[in-house]
């Protein structure tokens, strides 16, 4: 990759210090606050966090899809293929969107245009980015539908979205996103709105296509189980920031941030059946309030005075980055973060 000096050869996307805020009547809401992460070529990065933690806003910021106003990107860089996406012109960004980076969304019921046929929507990226003719585009659209496991593809091109189930629509979304063979797919909670059985199928589909196409995937979710099933790398977000970043294996083997361990503790699968589930006390912070120090501190059972200082991500173990001052200083032994009674745990695949 051309201009990016600091990146290793396989680095596809490098986001540094991204800050996005919304200027609303209630005040300035800092939805993403100094977020950094990287995505390597051909890998799957999971971004986990409670709803409202800024996952979607971060991804939309990269593609210039934040509604402005009220949104505003206040700072940061997003290096992709030698460009800084945050400083691209609208025209340059349009050539990235849907061609090099595709995105699929949480709710397949509303993400497709109800007034257009599936075929028209499916072929649109091709006509826009590759300028190919209608017939060729149609052929590719049929192939794309077959690729995501939709039968009678040729007939289905004439259907409208309301004639499909939710799972089918998400398949269509995936076909549409991948029809241009992008290098990066951003999937924003692609299974949250679907039935449990369908969820697994969609995840499996994404994983299969990733292997076949060799693209990188950013998978956004609030479900650690999904991360465990699909992702190789993980970033844990909270209140617009990254609190922990590691390989999935590393993270599940040994969380190195109190928030991550609390999240793991609240997963029902980690505990024996019938045991009372753990809930994190308190509520996520109001993002319009000015803040200092660790955003999780008010809810953290390990918080101390030192947590009033703002933590930054630091490598606390090889390949494992943590934004907890107490862990960084060695005051808080990571073994203490293991959930008592957890033995078998949840293993990364």
């Amino acid at each position: 990759m051309g201009g990016d000096m600091t990146a290793s050869a396989e680095r596809l996307l490098r986001v540094e210090g991204l800050r996005t805020s919304f200027h609303t009547r209630e005040g300035v809401l800092r939805a993403v606050d100094d977020l950094s992460f990287t995505v390597d070529q051909g890998r799957t990065l999971g971004i986990v966090g409670e709803s409202g933690s800024g996952k979607s806003v971060a991804m939309l910021s990269l593609l210039g899809l934040i509604p402005m106003p009220p949104g505003r990107i206040e700072g940061g860089r997003a290096l992709f293929g030698g460009r800084d996406l945050l400083r691209c012109t609208a025209r340059e960004l349009r050539r990235v969107r849907g061609r090099e980076i595709s995105m699929i969304f949480q709710d397949p019921m509303t993400a497709l245009n109800p007034f257009m046929t599936i075929g028209a929507q499916l072929t649109e990226p091709l006509t826009v980015h590759e300028g190919i003719g209608r017939r060729a585009a149609r052929g590719r659209a049929i192939a794309a539908l077959e690729e995501v496991g939709i039968q009678d593809a040729e007939e289905r091109l004439r259907s409208y979205p309301h004639e499909f189930s939710g799972g089918m629509r998400q398949r269509v979304m995936i076909a549409m996103a991948l029809i241009t063979r992008p290098r990066l797919l951003i999937a924003d909670e692609p299974t949250t709105a679907l039935d449990v059985t369908v969820q697994a199928q969609i995840l499996e589909l994404i994983r299969r296509l990733q292997g076949e196409l060799g693209m990188a995937v950013v998978l956004i979710t609030h479900d650690l189980g999904v991360v465990a099933a699909v992702c190789e790398d993980v970033v844990v977000m909270y209140a617009g920031r990254a609190l922990e970043s590691a390989s999935a294996v590393g993270l599940f083997a040994q969380p190195r941030h109190p928030y991550t361990s609390a999240l793991l503790a609240s997963l029902p699968t980690l505990r024996g059946r019938g045991a009372e589930l753990y809930t994190i006390p308190g509520m996520p912070p109001d993002l319009t309030e000015p803040r200092a120090g660790c955003p999780f501190a008010p809810r953290c059972e390990h918080a101390a005075e030192i947590c009033g200082a703002s933590p930054v991500l630091e490598e606390t173990a090889p390949g494992h980055w943590t934004a907890c001052v107490r862990v960084q200083r060695g005051e808080l032994p990571v073994e203490a973060l293991r959930v008592a009674g957890e033995d078998e745990g949840l293993r990364a695949p």
Binding site: T24, R25, E50, D223, S266, M283
Partner: protein, 302 residues
């Protein structure tokens, strides 16, 4: 899943506090309205028009039907600011008195439609079910009736009494009001914060008083401010056709009609009443739009 259940609980609380903000919503709306220059200008102009119409005639040396044959079609001057008409009557005073009629018709007919519409719509919305369906079906049917045409018939046959003009116009306008009120009640009944309020054990009375009514009031107020100008327009339309207020009484519509007949040589006869009517309509519409923007919590303009 537990994390989701927790998030759900938080949402319910957030929604409730949002609804509890009812009172502050109004003061917020007031502040937003005060920042809307057009709406404020509308309020100021309206106040002036009210004073103009209500008090103005007392301050004038002329009366609305006092003829002065020596002074027919006098152009605007120090003695007659708006000039005089074909019978030498002072146009300023006639415009003021016409304003009384127009404003009165506007307010009274809107009040009529408000009462009918709110009662009808709220009943349908609250009772729901079959009755609601039947009542709304009636509204649908009435909607397809050419009401303006009925208003014309009614007014021509009523001996042009102003009271009947009110009734006719009120009867035209209540349908939309009923729909809006019903829609509000229905959607509010389904809103999550009502569920949340029920879950939190609030009494029905409290839900009604603190949540439903304050939240439904916004659209009704907006609709009223936008109905008044429409009604005034309809009255002016009828008077323009010669069907409304009869001479020597005046209303803005009848003055405009007289003005058009003579506009070639005596344009002021058209200009002043038209200005009065349009200015009032502008003010009411700006105020209505301003209120809507101020009361709509969704619109997130800075």
């Amino acid at each position: 899943m537990d994390s989701r259940a927790e998030v759900g609980a938080i949402d319910a609380r957030a929604l409730l506090t949002q609804a509890e903000k009812g009172a502050s919503l109004w003061s917020d709306a007031g502040r937003r309205l005060a920042k809307n220059r057009l709406a404020v200008a509308g309020v100021v102009v309206l106040a002036c028009v009210f004073v103009f119409a209500a008090i103005g005639p007392f301050a004038s040396p002329y009366s609305y039907d006092g003829q002065d044959r020596e002074n027919r079609f006098a152009p605007p001057s120090g003695a007659h600011w708006f000039g005089t008409d074909n019978l030498g009557r002072d146009l300023l005073v006639r415009t003021m008195v016409g304003g009384r009629v127009s404003l009165m018709v506007g307010l009274a007919a809107t009040a009529v439609s408000l009462v009918i519409g709110v009662l009808y719509g709220a009943t349908a919305g609250f009772v729901g079910g079959r009755l609601d369906q039947a009542m709304m079906r009636v509204v649908d049917v009435l909607y397809t009736l050419p009401f303006t045409i009925f208003a014309i018939i009614l007014v021509t046959y009523s001996g042009q009494s102003i009271v009947l003009v009110f009734v006719a116009i009120g009867a035209v306008e209540w349908l939309t009001m009923a729909r809006i009120v019903r829609g509000q009640i229905m959607s509010l009944r389904e809103k999550e914060f009502v569920d949340a309020a029920v879950v939190m054990g609030l009494s029905r009375r409290r839900i009604l008083l603190r949540h439903l009514i304050p939240n439904a009031l916004g659209p009704i107020i907006v609709f009223v401010t936008l109905t008044v100008p429409r009604v005034m327009l309809l009255e002016a339309f009828l008077s323009y056709l010669g069907l409304g207020v009869q001479a020597p009484m005046s209303s803005w519509g009848s003055l405009i009609r007289e003005g058009t007949l003579a506009m070639e040589e005596y344009p002021w006869l058209l200009i002043f009443p038209s200005l009065a009517l349009s200015l009032t309509l502008f003010s009411l519409n700006f105020l209505g739009d301003g209120l809507r923007d101020a009361l709509d919590p969704r619109s997130s303009k800075d």
